[in-house]
């Protein structure tokens, strides 16, 4: 395969992997702090995309700033709104279920995701069809043979990487991040030490929702369209990526996202049986990895048993 074509496939894979990683990091954060699977996370991503789109429309109609500025302003508001949604989910759905089996939280959030998805399909005008997301960043491109890099893709790669590094820095090096880690390790002890465990949980949900907003907007900008069910498969793949990378490990979530995207691309290009089986191939490999490394590639080596 020519090097320029290979480079193009690699770029496509990294872009897709970035979106998966942003979703996977959210799952990992929720699991890390509360041992729960927030299964509406994919649909929250979708909500973030729709919120940003409508805010862009509102800001654009005022016609007071250029497109990139419209995007930034709209994104900030969308992320803030979505943060409140995340806090509401944490406060009213998850925290009350704190002492229930984790499966209950998974089910309840799965059902919430269905409600969100169906509400968008039914109540957003034209919601059952894909909706155009305008190209708000420069679409100038640079080509070298069969390799083409669009400026908006390059920007998203840089910003996405910065967001992931920023999230890791927040968790590892800030007081809030240390509090999140403390609550994740031992909630009772953290409380005794004066950490507001409920506040930390809600802050985690807000951060997760913020990441969802980034993933949703990136998906809209990259594909130039959003649709009501984009979060369903994103959620499944994001969750699988978090699991295979190691639930609770931020680096694992990123690795899992890139791995999944690579498996899908490889499946499309290299499988003799055809690309329609690429998801079967990708999930089969993920199952095999999980059988080999049950706690994920970068998770703890052994699950602690008491």
């Amino acid at each position: 395969m020519p090097i320029d074509l290979l480079g193009q496939y690699l770029l496509n894979t990294v872009m897709l992997g970035l979106i998966y990683a942003l979703v996977a990091v959210g799952f990992t954060l929720f699991f890390g702090v509360m041992n729960i699977i927030q299964f509406s996370h994919g649909d929250i991503v979708m909500m973030g995309a729709f919120m940003c789109l409508y805010l862009v429309g509102a800001v654009a109609s005022a016609d007071i700033m250029p497109a990139p500025a419209q995007l930034i302003v709209s994104f900030v508001f969308a992320a803030a709104l979505l943060g409140f949604v995340g806090i509401a989910i944490g406060r009213f759905l998850v925290l009350p279920m704190k002492d229930a089996p984790p499966l209950n939280v998974l089910l309840i959030t799965l059902m919430l995701g269905t409600i969100i998805r169906e509400c968008v399909r039914l109540f957003v005008p034209g919601g059952s069809n894909p909706i155009r997301f305008p190209p708000l960043l420069s679409t100038e491109s640079y080509s070298l043979g069969k390799f083409t890099l669009r400026l908006d893709s390059a920007l998203m790669l840089i910003i996405g990487a910065a967001v992931l590094i920023g999230t890791r820095t927040l968790i590892k090096r800030t007081k809030l991040g240390l509090a999140i880690q403390a609550v994740g390790q031992d909630e009772e002890t953290a409380r005794i030490l004066g950490i507001d465990d409920r506040g930390v949980v809600l802050a985690t949900f807000a951060i997760g929702a913020g990441l969802a907003a980034v993933a949703g907007v990136f998906s809209g900008l990259y594909y130039n369209q959003i649709n009501f069910d984009m979060g369903l498969l994103l959620g499944v793949i994001g969750f699988s990526s978090a699991i295979v990378g190691g639930l609770g490990a931020l680096g694992g979530a990123v690795l899992g996202g890139l791995l999944f995207a690579s498996l899908q691309t490889f499946g499309t290009l290299a499988l003799p049986i055809g690309g329609e089986y690429k998801d079967i191939f990708a999930f089969t490999v993920v199952i095999a990895i999980m059988t080999w490394r049950p706690t994920g590639l970068l998770g703890e080596k052994y699950k602690e048993r008491v």
Partner: protein, 332 residues
Amino acid sequence: MRLRNANAASKYNYQLVVLDDECKPSTGVQVATKAAADQTIVAGITHYCSAVAIATMGTYHRFNLPIVVWGSVLPEVTYGNKFPEVHRVNGTMIDGDRDASKFMRSRGYKTWVVIHDTTDYGKGHLKYFSEALNSDGGQIIGTFAVSSDQQDFTAELTKIKSLKPDVVYVGGLVPLAVRVRSQMEKVGVDAQFQGTGGILSDGFIAGLGKSAEGALAFREGAAVEKLPGGQKFLSLYENQGFEGPPEAYGPFAFAASDLLIDVIEKVGPSRSAIIEELNAKKEWDSIIGKIAFDDHGQNTVSATTLYVVQDGKWQVWDQSEYASGKRHLNSK
């Protein structure tokens, strides 16, 4: 619309029970079962999505509910079984794909890549379009089967870009077509876009904006303006105050309803009587022309209409600036 305008002198009061199949076979079977099991429902006007239609025909047969299909184009809906309950007023994809192949070859296109969804609809289009294209001397240089909810096509389209086809044919509905067309531009695939009747919707154009310009779609059946009752249908529709346009298959849905009401007026609201009358080998007048079912319940629809997106609207080819030569399709 047909029920709203049921003649005041009708023998019966008609009530429309609306059930949404969500274009999902599993949901379709549920709502088909619900309708068919309800003995107050005497007939059905069903389905748009072929994947749903093929999944539900057995249900209607099991409960002896007569139905008239108005949108689904999969041949197997009528020809896959010989169910006396099943009838269809619109054409099948065999005709559409045959005429599409002839037209595209007459424009000089030689090579195609086909992206199709893995439902019966997408697979059916692949099958019938391939057969027609082979007969017409065209060549399919790549085929990609994808799930109808797949979001990312960059891997497939990067491969397609290196194949350099003249045409990218999408055998799927609006969501798939929008994503493929949008990402074709992103990846830089320089080929003519060709779709099926399933993308003939304002949703396709709304999802793409200016990128929809020049996209082609072929639909079985004449354009509404050329239908015998087309103008009557359009003026009636305009007076109803509906939110959206009648869409590509609106006239067929109307014709299906019209036919059923006429049959019920004649034989009464009995499922078995309706089935017998629909299978009685006769012709009915309708806004789409004469309706005559063959022994599989399939109406003969001979014309195929080509549409092209021009300035944000689906335009009948013959009336477009592309046909007159003022604008040009993508060509190598």
